[in-house]
Every structure is written in C-alpha cells, then in structure tokens.
Amino acid sequence: MHKLWASTYKELLLLSRDIGGLAILFVMPLVLVVTITLIQDSTFRSINDNKIPILWVDYDKGEVSKNIYDGLAESKSFNIIGKESDSEAKELVFKGKYQLAIVIPANLSSELEKKVNLNVEGLLSKFGLEEETPQSEKADLEKKEVILYFDPATQMAFKNSIKNGIDKMIFKIETQTIYKAFQSQITDDETEAIFDTESFITFKEVTPSIGKNEIIPNSVQHNVPAWTLFAIFFIIVPLSINMVKEKSQGTFVRLRTNPVSYLTVLGGKTVIYLAVCLIQFGLMLGIGVYLFPILGLPSLDVSGKIPLLFLVALFAGLAAIGLGLLLGTVAKTQEQSAPFGATFVVILAALGGVWVPVFIMPKFMQTLSNLSPMNWGLNAFYDVFLRDVGLMDLVPELTLLFLFFVITTAISIVYNERKNAV
C-alpha cells in the first residue's frame, strides 16, 4: 500500500510540475466544450438569431411566390435578399457568397390557378355540374419548376431541410388553391366557409419529464456530456506520453529492477489521472451551469443528477485510463503514442456517436459503435441528463466501462511481463 501511495504522490508531483500538460488537461477541454456548444447551439434553438442570408429571384410576382416568401420569412431562419436576375443569383451562390438562391418561375401563380381550375372544372363536369373542358386548354399548361441553387460546399442535411421545407410550402399552396377553386365553383359567396382548410392531422412531441417539469433537450444537455466524454478520453494522450517519457528517461527500466509490481506503478497513475478526470468533469459541469448562461447559452440542468453524473464520469475515466495505460505500455516513442492516441480518440468519438448520432450510421458502423467505450459512456450520460434514469438503469453501461478498464489494464500487465520476462 505504501508503494502505491508513493507512486501516486510521485505522479502528482510530476503532473503538478508540467504546466503545459496541466493546461492541456484542464483548459483545452473547457475551450472545446464552450466552442462546440456555441457553434451547435443554433441547431437546437427554436428561435434563431443568426439568420442565414439567401437570395430570392421572383419572376412570378403572384400569390404563390408571395406565400413562399412569407413562409420563408415566418421561419425566422433566413435573411431574404431580393435579386432581379437568375444568372446573378446563380453566380453569387456558386462562388460561395450565399448558401442558397430560390428562383420562382414566371406565371407560376396564374398557371397554377389555371391548372387547378381546369382540374376542378373537369371533375365537376363528370358529375354533370359543368361543361367539359376542351383538351387543348389542358395541353397548353406546362410544368413549372422552382429552381434552387446551393453553394457546392453546403452540407446535405441543410440542403434536405430546405428542399423539404419548400416542398411542404408548395404542397400547402396547391391544396389551398384547389379548395379555393372548388369554393368558387360551388358558391359565389367567398365568405361562406365550405371547406375547413386547417390541417386535420397534426403532431405533438411528448418529452420525458420529472414531475411537472419537462426535460427539453437543448444544445447544452447534448454537448456537455458528449464533449466532456471526448475530453475524458483525451487523457490517453498525456497519460501515454507520461509513460513513454519514463521509458526514455530510464526510470521504467530502474523500476523493473525494483521489487515493485507493474500493477502498483500503473495504480499510481490510475489514481492521479482518475482524479484529473473527475476534476475536469466538475469544471465542465461548472462551466455548463455558471458560464453558459453568461454566454447566452441555456444553463446546464444538473439538479438532482450530480451523484449519478460523477459516477458515470468515474467509470468513463477508468475506461479512458485503461486505454491510456495500454497505449503507454505498447508505444516506444512519443511520436507513436501522441498521434495514435489523438487519432484513436477521434475515431472512438465518431464511432461512439459524439458527432453523428448512431441511429443514422450505416448498419455495419452501428454494430461497430457498440464496441466503442465512448458509446457506452455517452449513453450513460444521456440516460442521466435526458432520460432521467436511476442507478440500476446505468448498471449495464457502467459494467461495460469497468470491464474495458480491467481488460485493457490486464493486457498492459501481461504485455509488459511477456516483453520483459526473465
């Protein structure tokens, strides 16, 4: 026990004298979580202050284009800039000056109205209420296209949401025009409400709640756990560098000649780096609770969750440390451990769903994701933050994280013993 205490104290001294290392361990994760949360906050906000400038070319100048324009303006997501020509808008967008240009074709409103009227009249004539519409009039109608120009660098998700949004608006306008056409054919009184044009089917999102308080997901609740976990796992880089340094300084060689087990040496590192993880986590929570509101972000809600959150952080920290110990044991130089460690954490984060949700990954990647300790940790954090679960619900994920620590540490010890067997 004294040897473990001495090893822990030595690690504490080594770490406390490495100012650069301490900065990386404590400051960088905080910078990371603040930056990412600020960037991603807009995607979670229902009212967005940061409007995206888009170009608007209206050759129609009719009711349909007015409805689309109003729909875009109502969304409060866009700053709509009018342009006179299609080619100018296209050039500006393709040069990357704007993300999007929308071109409404000429006579869209009148042609749509004409088409709907013809269809309605045709339908009513089948019931003997109207004279049959000549075929030549139907043939005169040509299809209209609303043209969208996207900056080639625009992400697919943004493109899809815009296309879906405009599609929905056009569908609504078409439906309302049909209702109007029927109305005008059936009655001369425009004020008479024959059709209820309000949507019959709507949807309601039901979110989890604690008592009467709903748990409404926001950028902070999502980002703090994800990026805190990322920071916790990043500890493998300084930890493995610490171990490789000991090899290059010759101190590891000296320790091999001492009557001390490798487990004790690793134990000292585990205790200190686990403490670092928990302090780091505490700072992250502090930032979420106290700094984020000052920066205009939602405050992190940790009420009643702190013990469980620290429990998850403890097990996630152990898993990260196990990986760091293994990397530090196997790597021979800092040039091996640092880039590998950093890249591997990024891969684990990607697999774990830190950047892209696991459910939208390809099937094969979803299977791989189940093997990422970051996925277990992230699920455990989301369970606490967003799903309001109890300790027993966390047991599967915590067990996996702990087993990961035990297995990686055991591999480190076996590898070290085999490599240095006498």
Binding site: H2, K3, A6, R17, V253, T257, P259
Partner: protein
C-alpha cells in the same frame, strides 16, 4: 555469491551472440570489474544479472536465488546503478530518492534518515530540494548511486558509474563504493577507465566478443604479461588496438 553457468544472449536482430556460453563465479565481498571494448557484452551481462533482459540460454543465481523463482526477494537483495541517470528530471533529488526508496519498501523516518545520510556523504545535502534538471552530470551520477544503495543491497551492479563526470565527483563515487564494499556489499562494475579499475577492483574479467578471455586480480594479470606495465597494456594486448565501433 554469484554463480553464472553457460550463460548466452543473442538479440533478435543480431547475427552474433552478445554473450557466449559464459561461466563465472564472483565471491561475496569482491569488487569485480567487467572490462572490455565497446560491444564486448558487458552491459548485456549486467542487464541479464539484474533481470532487465532474458538470457537466451544458461542460468545464474545470486546468493542461491534465481529470478524465475525468487524475483522479489532477489530484487530486494541487489541494487543497480544504470549507465543512464534513470531519474525524474522535474523532481528534486529528495523527491526522487523518496520515491525510489519507497519502491524497496522503505518508509517514514528510516527512509528520510537514509536519504539525508547519503546526500550528506556524497556532498549533495545543500541541493536536496533542487530539481534534477538543474544538476550537473556528476551530481546526477551521485543521486543515481544513492537511489540504488538506499536499501543496503548485498550486491551492487554498476554500469559505467563514473562515465562523463568530473574528477572530484568520480573520486567521491569511488570512495563511497569502497566504504560500501567494506560494509559487506559485493560490487560488480563495468568501466572503460582501466586505471580506475586497476586501483578499485579486487578482481577483473576482460570480456571480448561475449566471452571472458582472462580473469583474476589486476596485479596477477599484469604479472602474467611481462611487457605490460598496467591493466591497460594487458587489455590492449588481449583485445588489440583496432577500433570497435558498432551501431
């Protein structure tokens, strides 16, 4: 004390053996010098005896103990002063010694007393709270030595303990080693300083190409070669004057 039998070592990427079928017996209380040109196999032999590398074949025992059966007992019995400093540069001399002493199971007042005693004997008491990275080479060598003798080892292995140090530091180190030997510590040391070995060692073995080519008390060896005036002459006669650069 130390019984080596048919000990050989061949590294994976080397065509030749570094130590070849070596037999050696070192008695208790001796100061035994392992001498040889670069690449002769001295460090490999010491590394095997101190459990750092695995022999390809053969065996050895120290005080009747082997690493295969009594690793921790044996590690408690021996001390190793490696060629490199093997200390933490950002820790103070005291902190280094406290940690390394603790690894031998020393603690509390006893450990503090031992550290302070050795720091004083080796002239470092004023620098005990200075970080190692501010020390000169000679000072680091002395801390390196203290780290290996805090637990009073029965056998002390030293791999070129005086390389790259000033004359004063070298003198302090050698004098201290003599005192340790007088107190019952068997010393096995490698060096390129043949004059130092001639003065310091009770017995030497000259190794070349992994084999012991001669062994005995320095005076006896010199007397075996009438044209030699000192151990260096004997050494050059036996190993030749050709350069022994290796990579």
């Amino acid at each position: 004390m130390i019984q080596i039998s048919h000990l050989s070592k061949k590294y994976k990427n080397n065509a030749d053996y570094s130590v070849v079928d070596l037999d050696l017996k070192i008695d208790e209380g001796e100061i035994f010098g392992l001498l040889g040109p670069n690449g002769a196999g001295k460090t490999t032999l010491i590394s095997m005896l101190s459990s750092l590398i695995k022999p390809t074949s053969g065996s050895f025992s120290i005080n009747g103990l082997t690493f295969q059966k009594n690793a921790n007992q044996l590690k408690q019995l021996i001390g190793i002063v490696p060629q490199e400093y093997a200390l933490y540069p950002t820790l103070t001399a005291y902190e280094n010694l406290y940690y390394l002493g603790s690894m031998y199971g020393l603690k509390g007042k006893l450990l503090k007393e031992k550290i302070n005693f050795h720091l004083e004997v080796l002239g470092l008491e004023k620098f005990s709270n200075k970080k190692l990275d501010t020390f000169s080479g000679g000072m680091k060598r002395r801390v390196n030595l203290i780290a290996s003798i805090l637990h009073n080892p029965k056998v002390l292995f030293l791999d070129e303990p005086t390389v790259g140090v000033d004359v004063q530091s070298k003198n302090v180190i050698i004098e201290n080693l003599k005192k340790l030997n007088a107190q019952g510590t068997t010393i096995i040391y490698t060096s390129h300083h043949l004059n130092e070995a001639e003065q310091f060692c009770t017995k030497v073995a000259i190794i070349d190409h992994g084999r012991i080519i001669i062994e005995g008390a320095p005076k006896n060896l010199i007397s075996q070669y009438p044209e030699s005036h000192n151990l260096e002459d004997v050494f050059l006669t036996l190993t030749g004057k050709a350069l022994r650069d290796h990579a």
